[in-house]
């Protein structure tokens, strides 16, 4: 069969197939261009279809009580049709809109690339002065028109910068990734829930088909608009956020750097979510000037940074409960095991400090008075493996899956981590001692701490934290409830009871470090933390929950470089819980508040 290779018969077949295919193309071109050429020519002259997008209305955002937090306001956008615009009017347009000529020229060039025969956005959200000037010079500015559009508008009662996030004009990078839906000038959610729920909020674009002649002039609707696709408005979001608690938390954090996160321990719904310093979201809703963007982006206080989910600081003494739970559950100690605290602990040639001389303490006392020496010794008894195992159950060291995209897993070291970083066999128990009091190589976010507080409140049950409770469809008038995954920390009830009692005493009993978190008439449990910081003053933590017997709110407060957690963070947490549980701050004494206290007692 060797002679079959490229044989003359095969050559003929090969050439025959090629010739046949070319003949087919030839015939088709002859038919299209020669026979029907005139007809197609006419069609090209007269009637070509173009599709013009119709932008839907972006969905609204409400809080848990149905208070409107984010909606849309009308705004005026200057549209420019490149083909109709006379370049000699550039200086006039430039002076009216106070836009440099070269920027307008650049925008016209981009618009031409997209389509020079239909209007493209030139400037969003113009002022009333600019609007009236444009009206006045209308006759001199062919190809320039005004279009009504909508822009995001925010409730004045809360900022919510990091939870809502901003929606702004799509960037080139975003456009490249989503070419199938978006066009230049479209609005896209870029951070927070605006980004996470972009496809829910934005709705679905519609299309109008219009007929156009070969000169690019619009003749009219195509086929009486029979083929037009209507746009679908965006869906509304109902959050778990309580706008009043959010407002209280924001005002208490004014002037500070840090974060507050409050969740409902029974559902994982986020009640308040603050990161400070924050910024005014409406900067992004119209046109963001380069100066505004530069100022925000280069502010040394980093207002764009979401401290509630992206920071990873050592949790300090708030981590003591975790160690106590691990020890009690594994039976390593019981409630009668005691340590005598002389005010410091020596291991090898290193000395680890305590705040006071606590004397003889058991596990409940040690949490109550925040004794370091007890937990240094306990950490050596428990060891790294059991500690990090329980830590993982609480969600430390990994992403929580909260419904915004900005999140940092933090760091919960385990054996593998130490082997990797320090080398196998090159680290010993001495490396672990600080972990017992939440210092050293461990990093957590305020959101993770709020989950931890919720799990302590519910004795080991906690839910993935989430902002959105339900989605509302205006067209069908139906709600869609969001599902939330549940997690459990499987430890003995005995362990939970002792540790929670320690937390209760830390706030409610004398010598407790968290007394400043007390609320009139309600038992609060919690724990302070002070994270040492090599670069300045310590970071202040507080995490806790209330009411003690029937927890309805769990909260975490972090204030950067503020000193002791008990002094700075605990009062903020107390006021937030008070606002949520009473619906107002009662400690300053109104009539209804006194009645409320009486009723509670």
């Amino acid at each position: 069969m060797f002679e079959e290779f490229g044989s003359s018969q095969r050559r003929m077949i090969f050439k025959g197939i090629l010739a046949f295919l070319f003949l087919l193309l030839f015939g088709r071109l002859y038919q299209l261009q020669y026979v029907y050429g005139e007809q197609y020519g006419k069609e090209a002259e007269e009637n070509s279809i173009r599709n013009i997008p119709k932008v839907p209305i972006r969905g609204y955002v409400y809080d848990r009580k149905g208070r409107l937090l984010v909606d849309n306001h009308p705004s005026y956008t200057v549209m420019l049709t490149p083909i109709d615009f006379d370049k000699k009017n550039l200086p006039l347009l430039s002076s009216i809109l106070s836009l440099p000529e070269n920027i307008i020229e650049e925008k016209i060039r981009t618009a031409k690339k997209y389509n020079q025969f239909i209007p493209s956005r030139l400037k969003r959200d113009i002022s009333f002065g600019e609007l009236s000037m444009l009206e006045e010079y209308k006759d001199n500015l062919a190809g320039v028109e005004i279009q009504m559009e909508s822009k995001r508008s925010y409730s004045s009662s809360v900022h919510g910068s990091h939870l809502f996030g901003y929606a702004k004009e799509i960037s080139d990078v975003q456009l490249e990734k989503n070419k199938s839906y978006y066009q230049p000038g479209d609005i896209i959610g870029s951070t927070g829930i605006e980004a996470k729920y972009e496809e829910v909020l934005r709705g679905e674009k519609g299309w109008n088909f219009i007929s156009q002649n070969a000169k690019g002039q619009i003749i009219g609707t195509f086929d009486n608009g029979k083929h037009d696709i209507p746009s679908k408005d965006g869906l509304d979001l109902y959050l778990n956020i309580d706008a009043k608690v959010q407002a209280v938390a924001e005002s208490l954090m004014t002037g500070q750097r840090g974060a507050v996160v409050a969740v409902d321990p029974r559902t994982g719904g986020i009640l308040a979510f603050v990161s400070k310093p924050d910024y005014n979201l409406s900067i992004f809703s119209g046109t963001t000037t380069p100066e505004q963007w530069y100022a925000l982006n280069n502010n040394p206080e980093k207002p764009l940074f979401n401290r509630a989910t992206l920071t990873r600081y050592p949790p300090g003494s708030t981590f003591k409960m975790l160690l106590a739970l691990a020890a009690l559950d594994k039976g390593i100690i019981d409630e009668n095991w005691t340590v005598v605290c002389p005010g410091s602990f020596r291991y090898g040639n290193k000395v680890f400090a305590c705040e006071h001389v606590h004397g003889k303490v058991n596990v409940v006392d040690a949490i109550h008075k925040s004794c370091n020496v007890f937990f240094y010794q306990l950490m050596l008894k428990v060891g790294l493996d059991d500690w990090s195992e329980v830590g993982k159950e609480f969600g430390f060291g990994k992403i929580s899956g909260v419904d915004i995209l900005e999140e940092n897993p933090g760091l919960l070291p385990d054996r593998e981590y130490y082997d990797r970083v320090h080398g196998k066999g090159k680290w010993g128990p001495g490396y672990l001692i600080s972990l017992g009091i939440g210092q050293g190589e461990v990093g957590v976010s305020p959101l993770q701490m709020a989950d931890y507080a919720a799990a302590l409140a519910e004795q080991g049950t906690w839910y993935t934290p989430h902002f959105v409770d339900r989605i509302y469809n205006k067209q069908t008038k139906t709600f869609h409830k969001m599902q939330t995954p549940m997690h459990t920390v499987p430890l003995s009830e005995h362990a939970w009871n002792l540790v929670r009692e320690g937390m209760r005493r830390a706030v409610m009993e004398p010598h407790g470090t968290g007394y400043a978190a007390r609320i009139p008439g309600i038992e609060v449990a919690g724990k302070t933390g002070t994270a040492q910081n090599p670069h300045g003053k310590s970071h202040a933590w507080f995490m806790g929950f209330a009411p003690f017997d029937n927890p309805k709110i769990a909260v975490c407060v972090l204030v950067e470089n503020a000193g002791y957690g008990g002094a700075i963070a605990a009062p903020i947490a107390g006021l937030c819980m008070e606002q949520y549980l009473y619906g107002e701050i009662i400690r300053f004494g109104s009539k209804s508040s006194k009645a409320a206290v009486a009723a509670n007692q």
Partner: protein, 405 residues
Amino acid sequence: MNSFFKEYFDTVLFSTVIALAAVGLISIYSATFDAYAGRDFYRQLTWVGIGLIAMLVTMLVPLRWLQRQAFTIFFSSLPLLILVLIMGRRVYGSQSWLGIAGLGIQPSEFIKISTLLALSSFLSRSDVRATDLKDLVKAGGIVLLPITLIMMQPDFGTALTFLGMFIPVLFWAGASQFLIIIIIAPAFIGVASIIGTTPFLLVLLLLGIGLYAVGGNRFVAALVFGANALIGLLVQLVYDKLPLYQQKRIQTFLDPNNDPLGAGYNVIQAKVAIGSGGLWGKGFLHGTQTQLSFIPKQWTDFIFCVPGEEFGFIGALIILALFALLLYRGVRLATITKNRFGSLLAIGITSLLAFHIFVNIGMSVGLMPVIGIPLPFLSYGGSSLLSYMIMAGLLMNVYANRKEY
């Protein structure tokens, strides 16, 4: 000197490639000149320059070395496809682009060449027989590897081009024609039976004639014929059971005219553009459809519309003639060359070119479904142009070495 030059340099092929690249540049200029002040044109011009250098370099690489190193080249090129899956950029729905030093590279364009090299090298080995089923399966394995990776992007059109190269190469290498018919018949039968009963019967008739002409075992032939008839009926049965929206999707793919405002929009606009060109065309930069950007992607996959509209039937015929000349040269080269590796390489490149030309122009004139593959030498895009220039360089290499065994 002159005769030496003629002996080693295929002037006809070289001139044809230059002419095609020039037509491409003119078309790209016309389609994009007003938007970015000719930015795309200058980019493509740069790529033509780079391509010419690549072509001449490829021509000078010793052919025997290529034959020996074919598998090394093949296996070292495959990881690019894996890389593209992991960190590639997504463009128009498939992940086929790799960003290297700020340039977008589409590895699949180059994998076509390395696969052909490996396939040709394998089939030209003295111990490999194209008539041997075991060797055929091995050859199939070579092609299946890149096809699988490209389908994962997913880039259906590009994956299909590998078959457009593989089957002709097998055919040329001497594989049983009977077997080739068995391989390709079900695909044709399947598509035809979805279009309708008449096309199905027509293809079935063609299959009958083909099987008869090829000869072979009459009993097996009858069996194959029966099996294909059954496949056709089954496809029709399954198709009828599909939900209506899926049927519509398939119909729209096969005939875009069914959805004039959606998938068919490009095709109808393309047909209007080409048709309205008439006999002589509307003149350079005077095509209304081109200048009004009525056809999306007209400088990449729908580039043929631009000369079609602006230079008319005459212009289109000149382009077809240039392509025909190129393919004719390729087949001739495969015939006259004395070494089998070169011959297979030439026939493989010719088939790849023919497949791209027919599918791409066929799509623009509404003969073929919309399959996004570029028109050789004309479409905008560095990777594809460079890969075709390298293929042309390989053809010229085969020409220079045609007298060596």
